[in-house]
Amino acid sequence: MEIEKKTTNKYLISALLIGVVFHGSSIFFTLESTYDALIHLFFADHYASSWFEPWSYSWYTGFTVMGYPPLVHQSIGLLSFIGGLKFGLFTTAIVAVILFITGVFKFALLVTGRRDVAGYAAIVAVFSSSFVETLHIFGQLPSIIGISVLMHALPKIYLWIKTGAYVHLIKAFSLLAVTVTSHHVTPIFGMVFFIFPLIGMVIMDTAKEKSGSYKAVRLKTFIGSFLALLWRIVTFGFGSLLLIITCILPYWINTKNNPITQVPIPHGSRDNFLEVTSSGLVFFLIPWGIILFIMPYLFYRFFSKRYLFFGLSLTLLTILGTGGTTPIPKMILGDNAFNILTLDRFTLWASIMALPIFGEFCYRFVEGDIKDTLQHKFGSIYHRILGGALAGVYIFVCVFTMSLGYFRPSQPQKIKMLPILNFLKQDQHDHWRYLPLGFGDQMAWLSSQTNAMTVDGNYHSARRLPELTSRAVERLENSKFRGVEGIGSLQQFLTVPEKYNLKYVFSNDKFYDPILYFSGWQRLRQLENGIMVWEKLNVPPIPNIIPKQDVSLYLKLMWGLIPMITVVFAFVINIQMIWVHALKTRDHKYPEFFNFSIRYQNFKNYLIKLQHAWVVFLLMIITFGIYLFYIKNATQISAQNVVEAYYDALDFKEFKRAYSYIDPNSNKKEDQYMLEIAVTDGLLSSYAKMDEIVVSILDQTDTTARVKTETFWITPLERIDKVFYHELVKRKEKWYLKPSDYDLDIPPDQLFSQNKTQYYNHGRRKISSEQTYHEDVLKQPVLEVLFANLIKNDTTYTVVGEIQNVDNVPADVVIKATLYTSENTKLVTYNAKDQMKHKLMPKENTSFRIDFEGIAWLDKNEQKPETFNPDEFTPISLADLPVTFNLQCAGNVATTDLYKGLAIVEAVIEKNSLRGTLFNSGVQEVTIPQLIISYYSKEKELIWIDQKYIREGIRPQRKRFFDYELKDLSQLEAISSDMENVFINGLPNKDVAYKVTPNRRKDQKDYKLIPVNGKGYNYVKIEVNNYIGAPY
């Protein structure tokens, strides 16, 4: 064995000590906010609670954990029995650190054959920026453990092929098995990128022994040596293939049974790094770090004859790691693999592969021939300065990487889970599914602490619902970052929640509030950690028996037992041997690869020149990059920049910064500006995220300019575009905006009062864990459908209608429509989304429209829209023509969101546009007003419903203008207005009508209908609905 020599390797020991202290103490501040760590924690919790059951109901309405190799999760799970899940996580992370440092040591020892050089490599490995990033930013524990154990295996593989001693083969296999069970991608690609070059090196070494020197090795001797070693190579090859297959056989079977058919999810590592500089930083600059500066040396060494194959492998890895910057990676991997793999791992491997040579460089620089040459050529001061700079940059990159998660947090603030856990435990709330919004990866931590299930999940390869897999949506939870696909998926879940037994939404991001409200959800309460709980009425609880995909017992046993067995086996064979050897005092021979170490002397002169030239070149690029960055981000250097900066500040609600761009000579005081901002509310100012801004300069002189600013905003409801005009002025070399006008309207009353009916529902009147008492269950409010019509619009089908709450209490209304063919075959079911008022006061009416939404882009060949549009609608494709429909309407007592203060004070129809004014006559501030426009035929039959959100809110006693373009409905065709199959709370609508409203005044004047000469319609009706952001 190579470690236990007569002298202890002081470099390795210090590397281990520093590594464990440095990483071991910093993981407590970084690991939990990494991307992946909490996901691994969730899996670990699954194994800790049901070790042999691969099916987890917690996510995605059920998924199998056989989709990810289990070793690391099982280890955390095992350790959790000692000190809890997080103890397990941190312990495993520390073990990973130790494995990585020793792994690099062994790999470097193998490559260089020198213990001092390997020691240097171990020390530089501790602060290697790619390792720091993978651990502290990404949290990819299995990946780290996989590659570390693989590095431990490499010397054994070398020795087996070189010497043919079976003991090495067994050791190699034992370590390879651990690699396989901890990470599946590492051994497969590791074979190609690490083991093939290693085999090449063995052959080269053998050939050298034959020929006497590397220089003398010719192709013929090389092939000769290869043939001589062929049997060992083949034995190893087939053995490891067998291991890869058998150790995680259930994984392969699962992959075959549930192939990944999902739409690829965009990943930063596939970006063009020059275009998306943030991806370039995270996936290229940081992992390479300081190694970038010694690239010439690196490639010079790796393309020496002995390392030739490593050189080729390194080149390939480097190229693959550049993602979408060049088309080459896509050509090498093919479209499919390119879109599934995350390419950052190639850079990680490349940087790890470079570590031994980097260690060698450091050794030669600190105490070897580079030092001598430099001192000889430039004097010792220069060498010291260079050394200081090298160390300085090295430390800077490491610290910068560590602090990335602090300055640019990838996760929302840490959420206190206890109130959520308590909520889920109380009153059987965990009998329904829940959905967290805006939790980031902390949703995995929530899932691992509760038995309640969610429709979402955090391991996207395991997604099963087509609503999720057909879109590039990583999680519903962060759907706002996924544009149309994200919000589209989310809307489907929110519109038809009963399909998934989804009743509770925990919202940590008020961005989603409007879509929740307009889809018919209501606020329940705010938990003490600030999370808003939304609830949907009329959702049945999860059935007692839910389906799962079972697998055979032997697969379960394999999955549960093999990973731990491989660890025990590898431990006994490898570690135990060390002790056995240590006890014996006999001297051991150095392993074979020690024979191939070289003496470092006479560092090449031209290489020093090349290296210097390279560094100067790099520094120039960096300086240029910084300059570009400054020009682009210097906010007031041009008219264009100041407008962009102004909107950026508004977008991030940094109003103080926004004010700093306002002309200081204007009479707008900061307080005044802040006040004006504070009183604006609405979809645009409170729920929009800027998507795009186009600034065009209309007119510019040296000191003034007029610009047109086209802005595009993403809101949860729709994509908004709005054009603003600004005047700019230049003062003291800085551009400023002139302040815009604001609403000057002064309402007549300083203080006024209004009476309002309020409602309260006790829920359970007796505090009891039993089923709610029969007499505490409220009667469902009775509704009545006044009219319903199945409409064909071009190729899509829609049900429109009008419903009234005929009860004496307010109702929350859920309407579900089903279409049938002429043979009464069910075609499709969907719920009414936002084209209706979901909350009705007694006797109030609403029009409603039900679209039948399909799952977008189920057909892979379908062209996806390039731009974002949350309002995007994918009509479902129907197998047959619908002829009849069925409506199931359910009322439940509502006590919230019953504000009716909006009045229509102007409504003028001119040509095809409806222009009007809304007036807020009540005492609450309306955040998002909504117009619901109904279209009627000549016979006053309802034929179409449309809606429009008004972008600005309306404060009490104030007006808001609106414009609406009337539709062209000449294509519409009414198919059926047969109301036979309309049901209210399960009872036929006509029975309800007969019993509850026998004296209905059908002759009443149609006071809401406005006559209009429209395309395909003769009347329109305007109704208003409103969302109140902060009700009281």
């Binding site: 309207d745 209004q754 409220l778 006061m841 006797k843 203060g901 009045a903 006559s921 004296n999 004047k1005």
Partner: protein, 411 residues
């Protein structure tokens, strides 16, 4: 064929041997005499049931019980050799119904009979009862149904024709009706009265009572009502807020309709616009608020409860608050100063009045600029970026007054 033959022969052999073995025992046991010792045939649920037999032969006996709950085999508990004591387990003795028994030994029955268990005399309180729906409409047509399932302490239904008194109270009415249990249940429809309010319902059977149940009787469909309004002045200043309110709305039985019902105030203007404001009732009165128009208008107003009731129609008129306002053009005509706009007492019009400026070129509208007044004034600036030097038509509209200037040359 062969296989079938073998199967049949095997079956026959089996049958023959089986019967043979039995025959032996039968012969032997026919001599056993069983005597029934003292026990009755009728019990009430929950009573301890012990069956005692006396047999002249001391062999192993078992008692086979058959009930609606299933079959049970009991072993004898007696120590005396000729007295056989069996205790019926409580899960059977607690259930109302018939238990058949057979005294057997070695699959041979010696004595059989049956026991009748009736419901216990101890009843459970509260009486099991259900009421629904719990909210109905006044007028005597709508009803809630009370269903009573009287049971004993072991949840056995009481025998039919047990008398149940169903009582209810409404205002000062308290009535009681006795019903006999039929097929285990007794039920009654409790119809609403003409008045709205709350009916309390309860049931009693032999000193055992139910919980108190509640039926809320809501007023029924609203009758037509009267509409009225209140405003501070009759000027169309676009600022003051006026109020519409209804008379106290009641149903045809004189009940004031329940709180929260929607009343829509529909306004038809002289320009055929349909305006609307909404109110909800409190104590039968709904109030709707709307801002005054900003120009002369005549409104025809009617209030509706959709397809259920409506008010009379009232007409009201708004007088012009602003009679006129000045407009000043700058020397290059690019700055247009509107105002000061003065209201009906010559006071400065409250801030926020919309002033719209239209710019036409050869009869086509180029631009419409809306600004709101401050201190009664509005300034428009017609930038050269949009309007090159030329001749335009400019129109300013505010507070119902339109002023048009043809052939304005922008320099």
């Amino acid at each position: 064929m062969n296989k079938t033959l073998i199967t049949y022969s095997l079956l026959i052999i089996l049958l023959v041997f089986g019967f043979k073995a039995d025959d032996d025992q039968k012969v032997k046991q026919q001599r056993v005499e069983v005597q029934v010792l003292d026990f009755k045939e009728n019990y009430s649920a929950g009573e301890k049931i012990e069956l005692v037999f006396k047999a002249n032969e001391t062999i192993e006996y078992q008692l086979w019980l058959k009930s609606s709950y299933g079959n049970v085999l009991l072993k004898t508990e007696s120590n005396l050799q000729d007295t056989l004591l069996f205790t019926v387990p409580s899960f059977l003795s607690k259930k109302k119904g018939v238990i058949h028994y057979n005294l057997i030994s070695n699959q041979q029955a010696f004595h059989s009979g049956s026991l009748q268990i009736s419901a216990s005399h101890k009843k459970t309180e509260p009486l099991e009862s259900y009421l629904g729906p719990t909210s109905i409409n006044a007028g005597g047509k709508d009803y809630g149904m009370l269903t009573v399932l009287p049971t004993d302490e072991y949840d056995n239904p009481l025998e039919d024709s047990t008398l149940i008194a169903i009582e209810h109270q409404f205002l000062d009415i308290e009535t009681s009706e006795e019903l006999a249990v039929d097929d285990f249940i007794a039920w009654k429809n409790i119809f609403s009265y003409e008045k709205s309010g709350r009916i309390l319902v309860a049931a009693t059977s032999k000193e055992i009572s139910s919980k108190e149940f509640t039926i809320d009787v809501f007023p029924s469909q609203a009758q037509n009502f009267n509409l009225d309004f209140r405003r501070e002045h009759s000027y169309a200043d676009g600022n003051q807020i006026m109020e519409f309110f209804t008379s106290t709305i009641s149903d045809k039985f004189g009940n004031i309709i329940s709180d929260g019902r929607v009343v829509e105030f529909s306004i038809e203007t002289d320009t055929k616009q349909q305006l609307r404001t909404t109110g909800t009732t409190i104590n039968g009165i709904a109030r709707g608020y709307i801002v005054h128009p900003n120009a002369f208008a005549t409104w025809t107003v009617q209030a509706f409860i959709p397809q259920m009731a409506e008010s009379n129609t009232i007409a009201l008129q708004f007088d012009q608050a602003v009679k006129d306002y000045p407009i000043e053009f700058s020397s290059d005509n690019r700055k247009v100063k509107v105002g000061p706009i003065r209201s009906f007492m010559n006071q400065i019009l409250p801030d926020g009045a919309a002033v719209t400026l239209y710019i036409y070129k050869d009869e086509t509208l180029l631009e419409k600029i809306v600004k709101s007044s401050s201190q009664g004034k509005v300034h428009f600036k017609l930038s050269e970026d949009f309007f090159s030097s030329d001749i335009y038509t400019i129109e300013v509209i505010s507070m119902g007054i339109s002023k048009k200037y043809d052939r304005i040359k922008l320099k």
